[in-house]
Symmetry: C2
Subunit: 189 residues, 2 copies
DNA sequence: CTTGAGTAGTCACATTCTTGAGTATGATGG
DNA sequence: CCATCATACTCAAGAATGTGACTACTCAAG
């Protein structure tokens, strides 16, 4: 029941349409909450019905019109209440880890390939997020920005995202190396 | 649709009852897949019906009888097929990050408290996993074990778990410090 | 002048996950 | 001896998520 809060939190930075939110959920927000566009549209409709967000039509000439939403005071209260409630421990779900868990009982070759792909994906994500961070902090250096910036929330969650991706990359590199070495040892027998 | 594969992967290490699996999912397996006991019982029943696992009754004297399961050849094939299929990118979902995202627009005090709790939880988890790792590798040192151990899958996923928890802890410490400093600066104005 | 990509959104269905309660037994601690 | 914890498992209901297909418009490249 916290997709709603992720949406509210994302809308704190201004007015967004469902489509724009979907973009945001693909990059920054994905660091802590993953959701498909359909879910966002559904959730926005529900939030509007409950008065937590307000939508208004924006007529566009060169593209389809859109509806943008912003958080109402009621919505802000809801976020406050959510912030005060106890958090559940975060959880990860990762197909690839399931495969690594069984790596030595089944074929490892395919798993190694996927580890390599993951490394590349992680590096791309790191680059993307680093750019995002640079954009957010502007000229200031990080310490400076974190002390005096006025909107640091998204920056902080991006930091977590970068750290996660780095961890992901390093782990994948190491595991791929380990599995390769074992494969070589096995072949040389 | 990968809880089934997580269960199969967990059962590669021997015969387990639903109850025992639930324990495993609470510690080691939780590093890459989180599931409640009820889901495991349901999944085991389904897997048995489809012939991917086989259960047998174990009569116990001092405790309730149990049914333990092991993977069948069909189940092993299914895992192979799964390992060869492309993985979806892993995703995180974390209440606390949602709160941090909106931290500077709502009250931060409660969030700081929760960050502290998270630090403690992460440290406990790290200790637990370090123990688990030590148990798994026995006398050998890590390099040695990873080269020649015969069952390293669970060890590798635990390494990821430890790294994740360390990342979690470090990030929480940093963010809590940042928010505290801003809080102090704000109060001093 | 057509194909493909990007913008903007909707509908319906199916699966999965969570919540909450409940059964039954033996062991442990005060 | 009574309460509580640990083992071992089940059922039902409801909320959240995911999958796939679809509409409609504009712009740019080939």
């Amino acid at each position: 029941m916290a997709l709603r809060h992720a949406v509210l939190a994302a809308l704190l930075d201004g007015e967004f349409s469902g489509y724009q939110l979907a973009k945001a959920f693909d990059v920054g927000v994905a660091n802590f909450w993953h959701a498909l566009p359909q879910q966002l549209y559904t959730e926005l409709a529900r939030l509007e019905k409950e008065g937590l967000v307000e939508g208004r039509q924006v007529v566009q000439e060169t593209r389809p019109n859109k509806r943008v939403f912003r958080v109402t005071d009621t919505g802000r209260d809801e976020l406050e209440k959510f912030a005060a409630s106890t958090s559940k421990p975060s959880f990860i779900r990762d197909d690839l880890l399931v495969k690594v868990q069984s790596a030595d009982r089944i074929g490892t070759a395919q798993v190694i390939e996927q580890l390599d792909e993951r490394v590349a994906a992680a590096e791309a994500k790191i680059a993307l997020l680093d750019d995002l961070l640079r954009q957010m902090r502007g000229d200031a250096d990080e310490e400076e920005f974190l002390r005096h910036g006025e909107r640091i929330g998204p920056y902080l969650t991006c930091l977590r995202g970068v750290a996660f991706e780095r961890g992901q990359r390093d782990w994948c590199l190491r595991i791929a190396a380990v599995l390769r070495e074992r494969q070589a040892a096995h072949a040389g027998r």
